[in-house]
């Protein structure tokens, strides 16, 4: 059959998916991080985000390399270890009109970067903060990180005897306004979650379990593909309808928690756990703490708040990016200067 190659599918801003791709990954084959990069590409493509309107931020570690593997058309900043939140915060203050996508790891966030992480969550600056969570330090060859579960085992047989930090429970408590957990191997859930994240205004914190095939994918690990496939327990099923698509009503409203997003998109969370309300902060934290105590791995959207003002709202800055305001707006006049001098005499 001599048919012409079909034209590539384009999104609603007229771009093919290839315009969302990045460089070739240098991470290990099978690394969960690569799957996350693919889902980020899919989500941005499907949402029709302009690549030139995105800032990619990261710290140091395997996870933090990954911004090189998606969205080559976006500016990217690979900073220092654990300090992506500060760089991202500064960049957002300079240009709050951009979409900011941060990628960090469990070491980068929950150990060296913990101080900056908690303050980033607290400010609710508009950005998506993804933790590619594999429970180990990869580049230094497999030490436990602070998100490794109590009792999980390294390849060498070393057992983790400290409790894991649950970054989701923490982020909820601290003031971030969209918090979820997913698994790099769950294409559908992760894609829906990322699309909803793009529609959110405020800090989105996504903890994505992302197995390290080299150092943490063995028997006894709680961050392995096998363990996640067997133990992933979604608290809700995510349905996301972007603002530019029509909403079809095809569900039993009692089973669905529906959220109107900032940009007019529609997030529908089908309850898989009885009466889970993702706007109830205290219940969300309690649910996560109980799950951790019981050794359960909950995924899904745990908490969402679409009304909390962001830090940019609180600063009450002009609509234009501060970074490129003209001199006429940033240098006060000679008469204002003269008045100041007169006061000092």
């Amino acid at each position: 059959m001599a048919t012409a190659a079909p034209a590539p599918k384009i999104n609603h801003i007229g771009l093919p998916i290839v315009e969302y791709r990045g460089g070739k990954s240098t991470l290990c084959a099978g690394c969960g991080h690569n799957a996350i990069s693919e889902r980020i590409v899919d989500a941005l493509f499907e949402m029709g985000v302009d690549p030139e309107r995105v800032m990619k931020m990261s710290g140091i570690g395997c996870s933090s390399k990954s911004p090189a593997y998606f969205l080559s058309r976006s500016h990217s900043f690979n900073g220092v270890h654990g300090r992506m939140p500060a760089i991202a915060s500064g960049a957002i203050l300079a240009n709050h009109t951009m979409m900011t996508l941060g990628v960090s790891g469990d070491g980068d966030t929950a150990s060296i970067g913990m101080g900056q992480f908690v303050h980033m969550m607290r400010r609710n600056l508009p950005m998506i903060y993804i933790i590619e969570n594999n429970g180990v330090y990869g580049l230094t060859k497999g030490q436990f990180s602070a998100t490794a579960d109590l009792g999980s085992k390294l390849k060498t047989g070393v057992v983790n005897d400290l409790p894991a930090i649950d970054t989701c429970a923490l982020a909820i408590q601290l003031g971030a306004t969209f918090i979820g957990r997913s698994f790099s191997g769950d294409k559908k859930q992760l894609l829906s979650m990322l699309k909803a994240a793009i529609a959110h205004k405020g800090t989105v914190m996504l903890d994505v379990i992302s197995p390290c095939v080299t150092f943490n994918d063995h028997e006894g690990s709680t961050k392995s593909y096998k363990f996640m496939q067997e133990n992933d327990d979604p608290i809700n099923e995510i349905g996301f309808v972007p603002s530019f698509e029509e909403i079809a009503v095809d569900y039993n409203s009692g089973e669905i928690f529906e959220v109107e997003m900032h940009d007019g998109s529609n997030l529908r969370l089908r309850k898989l756990h009885e009466d889970y309300d993702p706007t109830d902060k205290a219940n969300a934290v309690r649910t996560l703490m109980e799950a951790q105590a019981n050794g359960e791995i909950l995924t899904g959207v745990f908490y969402i708040n679409t009304t909390q003002p962001t830090f940019i709202d609180l600063l009450n800055v002009v609509d234009q990016p501060l970074g490129t305001l003209p001199e006429s707006l940033t240098r006060p006049s000679k008469s204002a200067f003269d008045a100041l001098m007169a006061e000092l005499k």
């Binding site: 058309r73 220092v80 500060a86 960049a91 800055v317 501060l322 707006l329 940033t330």
Partner: protein
């Protein structure tokens, strides 16, 4: 008046005629911090200023909220000397805890004004029989004019302003005017404080017999001058440089830089519809503060932070990233006494070396060194231009003395030049060029072109990283590619010599001896040179540094003198060390050091004595 002053004798009129000292002495007000003495001292200082007499104020205060000893030195100088004077001739002893040692440290013929109750516990006349004692019943005077017991502690200090004014013959009208400025919009507060000052003035007039030789006489040497602290001047410089993002963490003695800037921003940088053209963020620590500054600088903002030694140490890693990834940002370091926590409220110039090379690896930074409050304003503005021109963090090194004390100055000048936003490509540029390489030296000035996030062109983006990179901003571990970038960075730094603020040749005559210094040391030096001339008949030359990397004229100055005295306020001769790294080997042996590092602002006497000592005079 029970006080006897045997040293000065009974014939006061005769004494005054014989040894009248006019407009040339220092007043030391000893109080406890948190007692509200700051406004009283400020009013006294501005009253002398109002008499047209050059004046300076130095607050020697503890790192404490309330209740610890504080000294405020007010120097009146007809010659315009504004450095700390080693001895104070007039002591206002409001702190019984330190009264004894304060009195003991006075030079002969000095004056003590003190609460008369103090004589019950401390017989001052017995401690010193060569000073004039003026006991004043501060508590009684205060109680009479201030029925509210709670307010008495604050008002009491204003009483000494009145007493001092009367004794020194400062017009009460001038005091009133200073008070009006101080409490401009608060009539009630003004009334209460003026009442106190007047009560002190009246008491002195009726009850004290002038037996000392010190007088303030009207001059016209402050006409048109302003009084400001260095930190306020830095804050003003930032605002007139068009700063858009300030990220900071409070630390003494730099906090008032951001406070001053924020107050001005709120006043001058809000649009008619009430929106801010700036963002000020109090970060969780200095690591975050500098990270935010670099993130903002990367995304196009004029960004800055203000800090002091411990904060700068925390900024080390990020400053290396800023240097290597070539990101603009301004860091104002108001140096305090180190090492470690050191003496947080005391002054030093001991961060020069650590600032110059802050961070690991081959890292070096542009440093600007303001030598006056006017230069705090000008060099802070220049720092933003240089940071964007050279795409790198730029430091402004001030110090506690410069930053937190009152300095008289010529009014500042409104900036004559437009902002230099550096080499930034627009989408149209990229379209015309067909692309760009972030770290390629296309103009031969060792500075690449950058783009800002949001530039609407598919080829506008680049990848910023602190890891090894190529001219095209790609990751590399290739030896040649890595080294090419490092060599270009060195060339760029070298090129900065010509663009940073040039040194000021203050005196270059025929002397074989030259002086080099920077920052707040300058004020003591100009006085010291007069002493050296008067006492030893020597003329010396002087070049004041204003930036690192050093300009060629610094080399020339050293080359044209036999001996060079480097005067600085640290133990380890940091400026001399930095010069030694820069100068040709045959010039290095010319350098000698005069060092002052006890936490007090350097004074002229100390420099003169050490110079005479080293010269064998």
């Amino acid at each position: 008046m029970a006080t006897v002053d045997p040293a000065l004798g009974e014939k006061q009129g005769e004494f005054v005629t014989r040894a009248r000292v006019t407009n040339d002495f220092s007043i030391n007000v000893a109080t406890v911090n948190g007692s509200g003495s700051q406004s009283a001292n400020s009013v006294l200082l501005k009253s002398i200023f109002g008499m047209g007499v050059p004046v300076s104020g130095k607050n020697l205060f503890p790192s404490n909220i309330a209740g610890q000893p504080t000294w405020f030195l007010i120097r009146a100088s007809k010659n315009g000397y504004v450095a700390r004077k080693r001895d104070s001739e007039i002591l206002v002893a409001m702190n019984p805890e330190t009264a004894k040692s304060d009195v003991q440290s006075l030079p002969p013929g000095a004056v003590v004004i003190y609460e008369d109750n103090l004589d019950k516990t401390l017989n001052l006349a017995q401690i010193r029989n060569d000073v004039s004692l003026y006991p004043v019943p501060f508590d009684k005077i205060t109680a009479a004019i201030c029925p509210e017991v709670k307010l008495r502690k604050l008002v009491r200090n204003m009483v000494y302003v009145g007493v001092v004014a009367q004794l020194l013959a400062i017009d009460l009208d001038v005091v009133e005017e200073s008070l009006r400025q101080q409490f401009s919009k608060k009539q009630k507060v003004f009334d209460m404080n003026f009442g106190a000052a007047k009560a002190g003035f009246d008491y002195a007039q009726e009850n004290l017999t002038k037996r000392d030789p010190f007088f303030i006489e009207r001059m016209n040497k402050t006409e048109g001058k302003i009084i400001i602290e260095g930190n306020a001047a830095c804050g003003m410089g930032a605002v007139f440089a068009g700063v858009t993002v300030i990220a900071w963490y409070p630390i003494t003695p730099s906090t008032s830089v951001v406070e001053a800037a924020t107050a001005l921003l709120k006043r001058l940088r809000v649009t008619p519809d009430g929106k801010a053209t700036f963002a000020v963020i109090q970060a969780e620590d200095e690591l975050a503060a500098i990270g935010m500054v670099l993130g903002a600088g990367w995304a196009g903002a004029r960004s800055m932070t203000a800090t002091s030694g411990p904060g700068m140490s925390l900024m080390a890693e990020f400053c290396g990233l800023g240097y290597y990834a070539e990101i603009p940002g301004v860091i104002i370091n108001v140096q305090r006494t180190g090492p470690s926590t050191g003496m947080p409220t005391r002054t030093q110039q001991a961060d020069l070396l650590s600032a110059a090379f802050l961070s690991h690896g081959d890292t070096k930074h542009i440093l600007l060194l303001p030598g006056s409050v006017k230069e705090c304003f000008e060099l802070t503005m220049a720092a933003f231009d240089l940071a964007e021109r050279f795409q790198t963090p730029v430091f402004v090194l001030s110090d506690t003395d410069m930053g937190m004390n009152h300095w008289m100055s010529e009014p500042f000048d409104y900036p004559a030049k437009p902002l230099d936003r550096g080499k930034v490509l627009t989408a149209a540029d990229i379209e015309r060029l067909g692309g760009f390489e972030r770290y390629r030296d296309v103009d031969g000035d060792a500075i690449g072109w950058r783009t800002l996030p949001g530039t609407k062109h598919p080829k506008a983006s680049y990848f910023t990283r602190g890891s090894g990179h190529t001219a095209a901003a790609g990751y590399t571990e290739n030896p040649d590619e890595y080294q090419a970038v490092m060599d270009r960075l060195a060339r760029k730094f070298d090129n900065a010599r010509k663009l940073v603020p040039a040194p000021v040749v203050v005196k270059d005559g025929t002397s074989k001896i030259g002086f080099l210094a920077y920052g707040s040391t300058d004020c003591a030096l100009s006085e010291s040179f007069d002493q050296i001339k008067q006492r030893y008949g020597r003329n010396v030359d002087y070049l004041r540094l204003r930036a690192y990397p050093f300009a060629q004229s610094v080399h020339d100055f050293v080359a044209s003198h036999e001996r060079i005295y480097v005067v600085e306020q640290n133990r380890d001769a940091q400026l001399a060390s930095l010069l030694k790294l820069d100068l040709p080997v045959d010039q290095v042996a010319k350098l000698r050091s005069i060092l002052h590092y006890n936490g007090l602002p350097v004074d002229a006497e100390s420099i003169t004595e050490e110079f005479a000592n080293q010269e064998g005079l």
